[in-house]
């Protein structure tokens, strides 16, 4: 790393009024989470025999996986294509992905009836099941993400191991382990980086395969055999906006100057990626002639229109504009729109489009479901904040080279 800035733990007060607000949301969610484990799914959710999957799958899992795509897209750009310029974004993106997938896994544990059997797919295989593939890939990728994160741990603690109390005697040996780990990881890390990208491509698409088996139970605006491709393309498209949004948000939160020129040049990729996604989406719509359903005025057609216009077409136009890419506010809004678009797409695919027979009621998430979903998001933000304050994740100018630094720390 021949840069004049390097990742170091952020020094900042942990609790601010905003953080306390988020903590309250998290605590509220955890109350309902506890109720779910004590009294069962029926006590907390609005799920029934017609609607077996709700927002815990549609948002927490499906959208969660999509929004964590920043991890593998940035890793591919920075480490596989070796665009070193984006190196500064890899670590935050990796952390987002790691936390994101951790919470995806937690959401799965929350949603499945027998959470204590979550390990079953490891030994009970069904190669025909898209869900099995998603499960295995997510589990493997989560492991890969933890391994990819290890260098940050070794970097932080190597030579600084200081265990409390009688554990002091292990200080030396732990330090040695960290050293060995660091050396080995350095040699094999590329294996995991490529594996991470491959695994991501696999399960990002397989999540799209999930609803195909529902066949005619799914609204034709979304039901298509190319769903896996659409899911993969939208994951590609949402990766960078997610990184941009989170970088802008955290620099604002920590009172740092955003790395705007890196973000602006990263934003150049978003337009084409979003364009490819839009092209496939429209192409599919014309081949299947599903656009006829847009002529009907109902929840499905309205949601589809919002998803496409607000979530894809408007941000596409914004990302294609150099002026928008040059402004922080423009980048932030455009990124938020893409994220909203993908989030809504996953929600639509799993919740709105799913129209089971034999019921005239429709599903609306319960307070408990919403509380747990928001609670998980809040927890993720809190953990992200804690991690960047403990581990060397966010790149900041090093003091000795402060004159050369492009990014000054405001008020540090």
């Amino acid at each position: 790393m021949e840069h004049n800035h390097k990742p170091i733990p952020v020094k900042h007060r942990y609790f601010t009024p905003g953080v306390i607000g988020i903590a309250i949301v998290a605590a509220f969610g955890m109350v309902f989470l506890l109720a779910r484990f004590l009294f069962g799914l029926g006590a907390v959710t609005n799920l029934d025999n017609f609607y077996p999957w709700g927002i815990w799958i549609g948002l927490d899992v499906a959208a969660g996986v999509a929004l964590a795509a920043g991890g593998f897209t940035t890793a591919a750009l920075g480490h596989i294509w070796h665009r070193d310029k984006y190196e500064v974004l890899v670590r935050p993106a990796l952390l987002t992905a790691m936390l994101g997938y951790t919470f995806v896994a937690l959401s799965v544990v929350t949603d499945i009836g027998r959470w204590y059997s979550v390990w079953h797919p490891l030994i009970m295989w069904n190669g025909n099941s898209a869900l099995f593939e998603v499960g295995i890939c997510v589990m493997t990728y989560l492991t890969v993400l933890y391994i990819e994160f290890l260098p940050m741990v070794t970097e932080r603690f190597m030579g600084r191991v200081n265990l409390p109390g009688f554990l002091k005697v292990f200080n030396k040996i732990v330090d040695k382990i960290l050293h060995v780990l660091d050396r080995t990881l350095n040699k094999v890390m590329f294996v995991f980086i490529i594996a991470g990208v491959v695994l991501s491509c696999l399960h990002q698409s397989s999540i799209g395969t999930l609803m195909i088996i529902a066949g005619p139970k799914m609204h034709p605006l979304w039901q298509t055999p190319v769903l896996p491709l659409l899911f993969l393309l939208s994951a590609f498209a949402v990766g960078f906006p997610m990184v941009i949004m989170e970088s802008l948000a955290s620099s604002r939160s920590f009172g740092m100057k955003p790395e705007k020129d890196v973000l602006s040049s990263l934003a150049r990729f978003v337009g084409p990626l979003l364009g490819i996604y839009l092209a496939f989406k429209i192409g599919d719509m014309f081949i299947r002639e599903s656009f006829v359903y847009l002529a009907e005025l109902n929840t499905a057609s309205i949601m589809f229109t919002i998803e496409m216009v607000v979530g894809v077409i408007i941000p596409l136009r914004m990302f294609l504009s150099p002026a928008v890419r040059a402004s922080s506010a423009g980048l932030f809004i455009a990124s938020i729109l893409v994220i909203f678009g993908v989030l809504l797409n996953r929600f639509n695919n799993f919740v709105i489009a799913y129209d089971p027979p034999y019921t005239d009621t429709s599903y609306f998430p319960s307070i408990g479901e919403i509380a747990v979903t928001l609670g998980f998001v809040a927890l993720e933000i809190l953990l992200f904040r804690a991690f960047v304050m403990i581990f060397p994740i966010i790149s900041q100018p090093v003091k000795s080279t402060i004159q050369k630094a492009k990014y000054a720390i405001k008020g540090a």
């Binding site: 009294f39 799914l41 009836g113 898209a130 350095n186 890390m189 491959v198 395969t209 027979p357």
Partner: protein
């Protein structure tokens, strides 16, 4: 990242290749478990004649009884008020009857028995993340509750919206659906509902015999039946099949194509994972790109 050597790269790549090859060798056996070849020519089925059923609901009572639930007093099942609304199978009652008007003869309405159709190519078997569902050689689609993790993907996948789930249980919630009285038939008994039906509106027999019988009935009584056996070809064929006096869509049967429900999703799955070739190819491609861009970088570094 910068320290790795060419040798490391090759070594590790080879190791991954070996592992993947091992997995590849295992996979086809797994995939075969749900293939249609295991279906016996003599597999059993039930022909439900909705024009014969009198709506006595004794099948509902028997179903609860043979599965160990509190079935209550059999005479209370003569209560016809329940036909006022459409009912669906429940956790503790895997079958229900629904009533539909018979315009040809209003005095004898039609009754449609609802339970698992026991598809020949079941979506649930294909979907189940842990492979808990099995289509048995004899026809029944059953599930191993010990494997189940409660993900409810089978409920999403089922084209007939049959499996139910014990949402109110915090521990060991289970999927529930008709099991074609798998244990009773293994003992040589008839499925409970077939056994008790007073008018034999449910005929239990080999699926191919049932098709012959159904065709004969339709030919003999063209006024009584519409010319279609539901379940003969729908979603690749089902073990339970229906005869009706009016269009199946008016009897709340779903409109389904003849393509097996898991067909598209399975071909996508096997397309992506065709012996792990596509993932490995992607892996190799990315490795190649990594190697090339790295060398380029090195070269440009040297030039500087």
């Amino acid at each position: 990242m910068g320290k790795q050597t060419r040798r490391d790269f090759l070594k590790v790549t080879a190791a991954i290749g070996g592992t993947a090859a091992g997995i590849t060798a295992l996979t086809p056996k797994q995939a075969k478990a749900a293939s249609p070849e295991i279906l016996s020519e003599d597999r059993m089925g039930v022909l439900v004649d909705t024009t014969v059923c009198i709506g006595c609901r004794r099948c509902e009572w028997m179903c609860k009884k043979v599965h160990g639930y509190d079935a209550g007093d059999i005479e209370t099942y003569s209560n016809e008020e329940v036909f006022g609304r459409m009912r669906r199978p429940q956790n503790e009652g895997y079958t229900v009857l629904n009533r539909y008007d018979n315009t040809k003869n209003p005095i004898t309405p039609y009754h449609v028995k609802v339970q698992c159709m026991h598809c020949d190519r079941p979506a649930c078997v294909s979907a189940c993340i842990v492979g808990a569902f099995t289509k048995t050689e004899k026809g029944a689609v059953i599930w191993d509750t010990d494997k189940c993790i409660g993900c409810r993907y089978c409920m999403v996948a089922c084209p007939f919206q049959i499996p139910t789930f014990e949402y109110d249980k915090a521990i060991e919630p289970d999927i529930r659906k008709c099991d074609f009285c798998y244990e009773r038939t293994a003992e040589g008994l008839l499925p409970g509902c077939v056994d008790i039906c007073p008018v034999e509106a449910l005929t239990y027999g080999k699926r191919r015999d049932l098709i012959t019988i159904a065709e004969k009935r339709m030919k003999l009584y063209p006024d009584r039946y519409i010319n279609r056996i539901f379940g003969h070809t729908e979603v690749g064929g089902t073990s339970w099949m229906y005869l009706a006096g009016k269009d199946f869509s008016e009897l709340d049967f779903p409109k389904l194509s003849d393509a097996p429900a898991p067909g598209v999703s399975e071909s996508i799955q096997h397309g992506i994972f065709a012996y792990f070739v596509p993932p490995l190819a992607l892996y190799a491609l990315l490795g190649g790109i990594m190697w090339v861009t790295k060398n380029k970088e090195k070269k440009s570094g040297e030039e500087e």
